[in-house]
């Protein structure tokens, strides 16, 4: 379960995230949308422990990310928008490295890595150094690394950027299956069709404030007020 309670993040005088509150239950797929610079990545970075909130609380599966960072991070997978990997490691080495950080048993790690290599269809190039990878390859390795330790929550920033249709399908299916298995998924995306297809609930952020947060059913009601398209609702709300 992911809980954000009155979270605010300021950079000097600039308020990037303003009093944001949202709760994502176990097994819920939450889509986080908004125009560029709205505060999506800042929110996600606070959830992953990369930024410290100026005020408010972020509780991940019962652990406060500021006060119990180690416990909180053990239960989540963070997948960034730019999948930077250590250039000098191969994809397989990065997977072992990531598993090691979660104190995974070597035997279990071997097994999980083999499973994920197959699931993400990365066997052909997993033993090449990541410096030669395309964006899509990096993204698949990053997502595989996030799933190694069977997280209770997945926090994912723009997962479809740079992916070819096949990779995008693999990622969509993987995330959907994870949610059905009871994992909370918090996904930031610019892709409205993806959000509509996968998410149980959608939140829209603008200028750091959550301006819309509701289920697909409610969204459908809104859509009817316009031309039946989510795009029109989104553009109107973020105008």
């Amino acid at each position: 379960m992911i809980e954000l309670k009155n979270v605010t993040k300021k950079f000097g005088d600039f308020v990037a995230v303003d009093n944001l509150s949202v709760t994502i239950k176990a097994g819920e797929f939450f889509g986080f949308l908004g125009p560029n610079g709205a505060g999506k990545t800042t929110t996600i970075k606070m959830m992953a422990g990369l930024f410290t909130p100026t005020s408010g609380e972020i509780v991940l599966n019962g652990f406060n990310i500021v006060h119990q960072p180690v416990e909180a991070k053990r239960t989540i997978a963070y997948i960034p928008d730019h999948p930077f990997l250590y250039d000098k490691l191969t994809g397989r080495e990065f997977l072992y490295f990531a598993g090691g950080l979660y104190k995974m048993d070597k035997e279990l790690l071997h097994r999980r890595i083999d499973e994920l290599i197959e699931q993400f269809e990365i066997g052909d190039w997993v033993d090449k150094r990541t410096e030669d990878y395309s964006l899509g390859m990096r993204q698949r390795i990053t997502i595989a690394a996030g799933l190694l330790h069977n997280p209770q929550a997945i926090i994912i920033d723009e997962p479809m950027v740079g992916l070819d249709p096949r990779s995008a399908k693999i990622v969509r299916e993987t995330l959907y299956q994870q949610a059905r298995k009871g994992v909370s998924v918090f996904m930031s995306t610019h892709s409205l069709p993806v959000a509509e297809e996968l998410c149980d609930r959608i939140g829209i952020i603008k200028n750091g404030r959550l301006i819309f947060c509701d289920t697909q059913d409610k969204l459908n009601v809104y859509k009817q007020q316009y031309d039946g398209k989510f795009e029109s609702v989104f553009l109107e709300l973020t105008k």
Partner: protein, 581 residues
């Protein structure tokens, strides 16, 4: 006529493009260096204070050493300028070697080159831009230091400041530029040969040739033998002993500068000027050769890097399970294993890291083995004290340089993938401790070995030199610990996660500031130990018993000062990890 006009148009066009890019590079530099942000202003003021302090210390040290060597030890102008020549040789090698390694990253691995190559910019223009960028970026601090040292040297001879500025502009900067030109010529040759023989093999061969040449230089121009030969003519040490110079010396640029300075000191300007002319002429010629080679070969050699990378980075290379393979079972805890192996692969798969370390370690071995030949034929307490202090300062300086080159960039080199550790449940404090231990492992062992070998020759002087040995070991380990903590901490504070090139990180503004702080600390240490050491050598000289209390007290003070430096570095480093990523 048509050809001439096309050439003229092409030249003008190239020049215009060159100046256009240069304008934006300067603009970008100014905007990032002179930002009106509190942090940048504080850093700027801090830099100014430390740079200013360091400049004054460099001036006084150079002035005092010149005075001491020429007046107190009566070394004579000839011998003194031969020492300067040897130091310049080491300096030339350092600049040359540094430029070979840094140029590889700037000329072949830089994203800026990748961008410019897709634009209508000539390859020669790109080469010149990156070459100058590289040279100015890594050498501007050296210009300041060199100028202050020259001023200190000149103060003994009462030269006005503008004369020393002339020395800097017309001698030392061309000298460094020559080293840099030769470096890129060597680098392009390496790339050409590496395309056929493989990068590692070529670098290994080149390192051996390089070390062989350095060994040959010091073997032939043996400083100890030179001192003994000159002292046979004592007190007529100010004569010009050209017959003692090995013949090959006159072809070396360090010799030209030393000869120029010697003749100026002797008031024979007419004899001095040809040496400056030779230096300037050779530097200009070397730059032209460098441009011609770059014009014909830079782009081709740039393409070779891809071919080399593809050869090194084939999946088959990594399919075999090796000693440090992640797949092998380990006795370490999973997170420790993950981090240590990651550090290992990151280091040994980055040529600019392992090659630089290997070369430095071989040079240290050469230095340590040459210490065996240290003799004390001249029983003169002040000279022995000076020898010891020079060696002490050198070993401390070595620790500080190694720390700056390899420890300071450690946090920055985590780079953008650092998200994977920060967002994991692994505590950053542990990561920091691990990096400290790795750093201390490298520096502590090196410092202890150098210190032991440095002190051994003094045991022939007096049996009480055992005190020196223990003092040396304690001080070198304390300095190593302080250097590791200071460099890792300030490296974290000034971390630049965008920069992938370790050498550029180690020559950034933050690194320079750290280096200067380290040097201030080292000068302070030399001041702490100078008195008890002088008592020690005086006692050895008159064969009187030595009271080790003074050495013990200064060791305690040294330990406390090092502890404070280490604590300061660690606190700064740990707090920097709490910053937003």
């Amino acid at each position: 006529m048509a050809n001439l006009s096309r050439f003229s148009w092409s030249l003008r066009n190239n020049m215009a493009v060159f100046l256009h890019i240069l304008r934006f590079k300067i603009l970008s530099f100014i905007k990032t260096t002179f930002e009106w942000k509190a942090r940048t202003i504080i850093r700027g003021i801090g830099s100014l204070i430390v740079f200013g302090g360091f400049a004054i210390v460099a001036y006084y040290l150079a002035s005092e050493i010149t005075e001491f060597v020429l007046t107190k030890t009566r070394t004579g102008l000839y011998l003194f300028h031969r020492f300067i020549s040897m130091m310049l040789f080491v300096f030339f090698i350092a600049v040359n070697l540094g430029n070979i390694i840094v140029s590889y990253a700037t000329l072949y691995k830089s994203t800026e080159v990748g961008y410019l190559i897709t634009k209508p910019v000539s390859f020669t223009n790109i080469f010149i831009l990156k070459f100058l960028d590289n040279f100015l970026y890594s050498s501007t601090t050296l210009f300041l230091v060199a100028f202050m040292v020259l001023l200190g040297y000149g103060s003994y001879f009462s030269y006005p400041w503008y004369t020393m500025l002339g020395f800097l502009v017309f001698l030392l900067i061309p000298f460094m530029f020559l080293a840099a030109c030769l470096a890129v010529i060597i680098l392009m040759a390496i790339m050409k040969i590496a395309g056929h023989w493989g990068f590692r093999r070529v670098m290994g061969g080149l390192s051996l040739i390089y070390i062989g040449l350095i060994y040959f230089f010091f073997k032939v121009s043996n400083p100890i033998k030179l001192v003994e030969e000159v002292n046979k003519h004592y007190p007529h040490v100010d004569e010009y002993f050209m017959s003692l110079d090995p013949g090959f010396l006159k072809f070396l640029p360090n010799h030209w500068i030393a000869e120029f300075m010697l003749y100026v000191a002797r008031g024979e300007i007419g004899h001095a000027l040809p040496f400056a002319a030779i230096l300037l002429g050779v530097t200009a010629a070397c730059f032209v050769v460098c441009l011609v080679i770059a014009h014909r070969f830079y782009y081709k050699s740039w393409l070779i890097t891809f071919q080399m990378q593809a050869t090194v980075n084939s999946p088959r290379t990594y399919e075999r399970i090796r000693r440090f393979d992640f797949r092998k079972p380990s006795k370490l805890t999973p997170e420790l294993e993950a981090l240590i192996k990651k550090e290992f692969f990151q280091f040994f798969r980055e040529p600019s890291q392992w090659i630089h370390l290997a070369v430095l370690l071989i040079l240290i071995v050469v230095f340590v083995s040459s210490l065996r030949g240290l003799r004390f034929a001249i029983r003169f307490a002040e000279l022995q004290l000076l020898t010891y202090l020079v060696l002490f300062a050198f070993s401390a300086f070595l620790s500080s340089s190694l720390a700056l080159r390899f420890i300071f960039p450690m946090i920055s080199l985590e780079g953008k993938p650092f998200w994977s550790i920060i967002s994991s449940p692994f505590p950053l404090r542990k990561l920091y401790t691990l990096k400290l231990l790795i750093g201390f492992g490298l520096l502590g062992v090196t410092a202890a070995v150098v210190s032991t070998f440095m002190n051994l020759p003094f045991r022939r002087l007096t049996p009480e030199a055992i005190y020196l040995l223990w003092f040396g070991l304690f001080s070198s380990l304390s300095i190593a610990a302080a250097m590791v903590c200071l460099n890792l901490g300030l490296g974290g504070y000034f971390a630049n996660f965008q920069e992938k090139n370790p050498i550029r990180v180690a020559s950034s503004q933050g690194a320079t500031l750290t280096f200067l702080v380290s040097l201030v600390y080292l000068v302070f240490l030399v001041l702490i130990v100078i008195l008890p050491l002088s008592r020690f050598f005086e006692a050895a000289f008159i064969r009187a018993p030595f009271n080790p209390e003074g050495l013990f007290i200064s060791s305690v003070i040294l330990g406390i000062v090092s502890g404070i430096a280490a604590l300061f570095g660690t606190l700064v480093g740990l707090s920097s990890l709490k910053r937003d990523f």
